[in-house]
């Protein structure tokens, strides 16, 4: 016990070693365990044990043979390696499958220690032959070992799946242990084939595994079918999808941790195939005792499968959640109601009603979140101005910048319909300097909008501009104030067309992964990458090199982006945007769906502050001079380009995510580092670099 907990008992090494030749199996196991732990510190003494190992590997008892070969592989001493050769050769051909399967794994251990030796002795070829073994467990372990070797050294070509091998694998699949099945299924999923017959065959053989009792086998089987059904015709795909739904639902009755993994994966599958589970809304309803991480994930999925027919059910349920006490969960539920309204137009009335009910509960954080959400609804659907007075009543309760900013945006946007808009704003303006930047920016914009709509409020706007330009030390804020001021003093009519320009519509507020990343993650189903929704390179690294490689890749990506999108570059440097719609379309197609929310946000309104700040501080600056020189529409679009650009470069939709988070409370952040990590620094580096490039272009204009 002391040994494995880090206490050093290596002084006893010679004494322990004397006991190695014991005939008692239990004692032998303990001595071996000791050896594994301390062989490193006493490499010389280890050699004394070699003889016993070699003897044991010829013991008539297969358990002892297997034990010897297993332990030898774990003693990571160079000298030992030389002695392993013979026993390993013998045991690989042992008559007992138990010994063979242990020896197969041992080859992977040996390769890890000394690849050279492994190759010279032809162990790899031997393993490849063992895929044809009569015992399914030996097959599975050989595949495991080969896959491991293949992973660490692809140049060996250790595991090549040929049609012959494929046949063997499919045969072994039905007979080996659950863990072996996972190994084989993983290989099947990675197997690339263009042959339709083969795809069909694989799917046919794998589908029965959906009924396996072990959830991880089920997920792996789903992964295989998902990977191989792409090539099949539409009807067949539909049947497979139907077959996939029940096992996916059953995964929800497993242990919470497994459920969490399953839910994260279902989330991915739904992004690719939104309608697999559209009839199964109810099973995602949260139980009172579900752990928080499961609850949040279930919410996420419920919104994804919401449609016209089940939205009523969902709303009832969301309202219930919004009255619970776990703050993160409640916020997320409120946000979900808003996402429902944006997603399903026919449900907008009901959603707004539910939100108004919630605001009436006067629970502080519910109200705040509801206001943020209502802002988006107002953006998308005109005609709800009637509820604004009610929103303004809860003015005093708002203490979070997100909610305050949203309310101010609403006031500015609908100033003409709010009689006392100037009073409301002036209460905020008095405390302008104490506000967060986000709120200050909103106030500034709202003040200007108010003035443009109701010219009699000139004093107010004057006060705001005055105080911001003289007292603020935030360049974003001050510069924006200067632009407004100059705009207003030069040509109010022009100012009106710029500031009160039509906003592009919101399409969705549900976070999605960019298609490229989604494809990659779908091939990683059930692995950690699929849980984090991040490519494996971001969290699996080999020390510094991993991070370096990542940085390099990010830079390359950024450069390639610049090459691929000459239109954007031209738009920025030329300062002339002719085909507004097309440009925006290009952004949507080539970029991240996550970014869809970015350009669609009001560019000078509530969100532009966050957008420009998150994307890059420089992009905000560079847009300003552009804005002065260009007609109104172009300015908007230019900013749009910048905004979405940020996400495209990031490639991970991370920027999109963090914008949403800043804007929409901290619902998405509640899982800590898991769901919405800050964009990785190297990528920001790439982005920065590019922004600088643009900045120079624009400076060149002057």
């Amino acid at each position: 016990m002391a040994m494995t907990l880090g206490k050093d008992v290596s002084a006893l090494f010679p004494d322990v070693l004397k006991n190695i030749a014991t005939p008692d199996l239990d004692q032998k196991k303990l001595v071996y365990l000791y050896l594994m732990n301390y062989a490193k510190s006493h490499p010389d003494l280890c050699i004394l044990a070699v003889n016993t190992f070699v003897q044991d590997s010829e013991d008539p008892n297969p358990l002892v043979r297997a034990l010897a070969i297993r332990t030898m592989g774990c003693i990571r001493v160079d000298k030992m390696v030389d002695y392993m050769e013979e026993p390993l050769k013998k045991t690989l051909k042992d008559e007992s499958p138990y010994v063979r399967k242990t020896a197969a794994i041992c080859v992977a251990k040996l390769f890890d220690l000394n690849p050279q030796l492994c190759l010279e002795n032809g162990f790899l070829e031997q393993l490849q032959e063992m895929i044809a073994d009569s015992n399914p467990m030996v097959v599975a372990n050989s595949v495991t070992a080969l896959a491991e070797i293949m992973h660490s050294a692809p140049e060996t070509g250790a595991l090549a799946i040929t049609p012959a091998v494929l046949k063997k694998l499919l045969l072994a699949l039905n007979e080996c242990t659950e863990w072996g099945r996972i190994t084989i299924l993983t290989q099947l999923a990675e197997y690339k084939t263009t042959d339709l017959k083969e795809m069909e065959h694989i799917c046919e053989r794998v589908v029965p595994q959906f009924q396996h009792v072990n959830p991880s086998v089920v997920i792996s089987a789903i992964k295989v079918v998902f990977a191989h059904m792409k090539g099949l015709n539409y009807e067949v795909v539909k049947t497979y999808m139907r077959k996939m739904a029940p096992p996916l639902v059953t995964l929800l009755s497993s242990a919470p941790e497994v459920q969490y993994v399953a839910l994260r994966n279902i989330n991915l599958l739904l992004q690719k195939q939104p309608d697999i589970l559209s009839k199964e809304m109810r099973v995602f309803f949260c139980k009172f005792n579900d752990p928080p991480y499961v609850k949040l994930e279930k919410l996420e999925i419920m919104i994804r499968i919401a449609n016209d027919s089940n939205v009523d059910q969902l709303l009832m349920e969301l309202k219930e959640y919004a009255l619970e006490v776990d703050m993160d969960f409640v916020r997320r539920a409120v946000k979900a109601i808003g996402q429902c309204a944006i997603k399903i137009e026919s449900a907008k009335d009901k959603c707004v009603n539910v939100l108004m009910d919630l605001i009436n509960t006067k629970v502080n954080y519910v109200v705040q979140e509801a206001i943020v959400v209502i802002k988006d609804i107002l953006r998308k659907y005109p005609g709800y101005e009637g509820i604004i007075p009610q929103l303004c009543q809860s003015l005093d309760e708002l203490d979070e910048p997100g909610a305050r900013g949203s309310l101010i945006w609403i006031v500015g946007e609908y100033a003409e319909k709010i009689d006392n808009a100037d009073e409301i704003l002036s209460t905020f303006i008095d405390g302008l300097e104490e506000e967060e930047t986000q709120v200050q920016l909103q106030l500034l914009t709202a003040g200007v909008k108010l003035f443009l709509k109701k010219p009699q409020t000139q004093a107010l706007v004057q006060k705001v501009l005055q105080s911001v330009t003289t007292k603020s030390d935030n360049p974003d804020l001050r510069d924006r104030a200067f632009i407004y001021w100059r705009l207003l003093s030069n040509d109010p009519a022009l100012a009106k067309t710029i500031i009160l320009a039509d906003k592009p519509p919101i399409t969705s507020t549900i976070k999605s992964l960019p298609p490229g990343l989604l494809e990659q993650l779908l091939s990683e189903i059930s692995t950690l990458a699929s849980v984090y929704h991040k490519p494996p390179e971001t969290f699996v690294g080999h020390g510094r090199t991993g991070a370096d490689a990542l940085q390099k890749r990010a830079l390359e990506e950024a450069q390639q982006n610049a090459r691929e999108n000459p239109i954007q570059a031209a738009a920025v440097s030329g300062g002339k945007v002719t085909n507004v719609d097309n440009l925006l379309d290009i952004d949507f197609d080539g970029g991240a769906p996550a970014s869809a929310s970015t350009p669609s946000n009001d560019l000078f309104g509530a969100d532009s502050a966050e957008t420009s700040r998150v994307a890059s501080p420089i992009s905000g600056l560079s847009a300003n001079p552009g804005g002065i020189q260009q007609p109104a529409n172009n300015l908007d679009d230019l900013l749009g380009v910048f905004g979405s650009d940020g996400s495209v470069q990031n490639g991970g939709g991370n920027t999109g995510g963090s914008e949403m988070d800043i804007l929409g409370g901290f619902g998405g952040m509640s899982l800590g580092g898991t769901t919405s990590p800050p964009p990785p620094p190297p990528q920001q580096g790439g982005q920065q670099q590019r922004s600088q490039m643009k900045n120079e272009d624009i400076l060149g204009l002057f």
């Binding site: 494995t4 907990l5 880090g6 008692d24 199996l25 196991k29 365990l33 008892n61 358990l63 774990c74 007992s96 499958p97 138990y98 399967k101 794994i105 992977a108 890890d112 015992n135 399914p136 372990n141 992973h151 039905n174 007979e175 242990t177 863990w179 996972i182 029965p208 396996h212 009792v213 072990n214 991880s216 792996s220 029940p246 639902v249 059953t250 242990a255 941790e257 497994v258 993994v261 109810r282 309803f285 139980k287 059910q313 219930e320 619970e324 006490v325 990683e524 059930s526 692995t527 950690l528 990458a529 849980v531 494996p536 969290f539 699996v540 690294g541 509640s670 899982l671 800590g672 580092g673």
Partner: protein, 436 residues
């Protein structure tokens, strides 16, 4: 794959540390202690720090942690940890700190056997118990047995020995259903489903092949369609008459031939010796809820909550449920309660913030009522009460909520012996919750 398995107690003391790969260092246990056990903020079961991923599961009073350095299969890792728990439970009765401390050697031995180089190997309890035992295998015996043992541990029938002999061949089938219900305050059913298990205890000689039949609708439909004059119109009615059920999904023990089930839905298998879970299933249609619960809760001012709860048994009057427990949540600041019941005993349990109403025997078609007041103490910070749902617990024999029936169990063996089969049905409460 897995780089190491760690076991911690609740205080964060490392109980077991077994590394399988070179990259798993002892100091990682400190990292986990600091980052997870002593950090109340952590909400996810998976945590990646640097390139090390900790996946943990909590059971009783121990943490089981798997360490991985690669992009491992997360579902597999958790499933494996749960399998480890199951193994521990079947070996020690209870898998907690004490059991771990008393069985260090055995646990190391087990870990060695079920994981090799971080890859899970055979985890079948029955097989493992043959050669990893608490009292130690006698060497002489091991000699002759072990080749047989290893054959079994790796064979295609890794779950069954060939030489089983019984004088009386019997098979017991238990159909156990957990009903899950979520009812809204308005009394509408939000979610109802049944998760069932079929547990079999087989005491059969030789290598018997069993065939098992249920009143599965798909199966009955198939046979119906194959008849030339299949009655297509009366689908629903005839089905109800025939008493068939729709199984949404089912999962089988690894002994069941999945390929055959997929083609013609026959459940055919060679059972392990002794007790095992033959299948699990899920049904969502036509569920008979055994209990109807009617809940009225009134918050009177800030000092009192009134409860009126009526529970009605919805099953035949010849049946009776046992151990019915109704848990009625009370606010956190409850001072005293006054409870009256028409049957059974009710008691306020402050530690759980519940009024627990126990009815030892609940006859079919009867209705019992509980009325209670909870008197609250004044609180300085009026935090809203989360109103957890009322939950029910019960077990009810000879009743299946889904309507599932075992139609036949056939045993085929070379020696052609006759066997006796017993079937038992039971319905239990899964999460039977009523909001108010």
């Amino acid at each position: 794959m897995l780089s190491g398995i760690l076991l911690f107690n609740q205080k964060g003391e490392n109980l077991i540390f077994r590394q399988f790969r070179n990259d798993c260092r002892p100091r990682l246990s400190d990292v986990f202690r600091i980052q997870v056990i002593s950090n109340a903020q952590v909400r996810s079961p998976i945590l990646t720090l640097g390139s090390t991923t900790f996946s943990h599961v909590k059971h009783e009073n121990i943490y089981l942690v798997a360490i991985t350095k690669s992009n491992a299969n997360a579902a597999l890792v958790f499933e494996f940890l749960y399998r480890l728990i199951a193994l521990g439970r079947s070996y020690f009765g209870k898998f907690d700190e004490e059991a771990v401390k008393n069985n260090f050697v055995l646990i190391y031995e087990l870990l060695d056997e079920i994981l090799d180089f971080g890859y899970p190997q055979n985890t079948e309890t029955d097989t493992l118990k043959m050669y990893i035992t608490t009292e130690g295998v006698k060497s002489e015996r091991a000699m002759e047995d072990s080749s047989r043992i290893t054959m079994q541990a790796t064979g295609a029938l890794s779950w069954r020995r060939a030489d089983v002999k019984y004088r009386k061949n019997e098979a017991f089938v238990d159909v156990i259903e957990d009903v899950n219900l979520l009812m809204s305050a308005a009394g509408t059913v939000l979610k109802e489903d049944v998760t069932g298990q079929i547990i079999m205890r087989a005491y059969l000689s030789g290598v018997p092949e069993c065939k098992f039949g249920l009143n599965d609708r798909l199966l009955l439909d198939d046979t119906g369609l194959s008849r030339p004059n299949g009655n297509k119109n009366g689908s629903k009615a005839t089905r109800a008459a025939a008493g068939s059920v729709t199984l949404e999904d089912c999962q089988f023990h690894q002994c069941v031939k999945l390929g055959r089930f997929d083609t013609d839905r026959t459940i055919s298998f060679i059972p392990p010796d002794g007790e095992f879970e033959l299948m699990r299933y899920r049904a969502t249609e036509n569920i008979n809820l055994p209990f109807k619960v009617h809940v009225i809760v009134n918050e009177v001012g800030k000092t009192k909550v009134e409860y009126q709860i009526a529970v009605r048994a919805n099953y035949g009057s010849k049946l009776f449920a046992t151990n019915v427990i109704v848990k009625v949540p009370t606010p956190l600041n409850t001072a005293t309660t006054h409870v009256r019941t028409s049957q059974g005993k009710a008691k306020y349990e402050p530690a759980e913030n519940n009024i627990v109403w126990r009815i030892p025997r609940f006859t079919g078609q009867s209705e019992y009522v509980l009325s209670a007041d909870a008197i609250l103490t004044a609180m300085t910070n009026q935090k809203a009460w989360s109103r957890p749902p009322v939950s029910l617990n019960f077990s009810l024999l000879m009743f299946t909520s889904s309507g599932l029936l075992v139609r036949y169990l056939k045993v085929f063996e070379k020696s052609n012996y006759s066997s006796v089969k017993w079937v038992r049905y039971m319905t239990r409460a899964g999460s039977y919750e009523i909001r108010f």
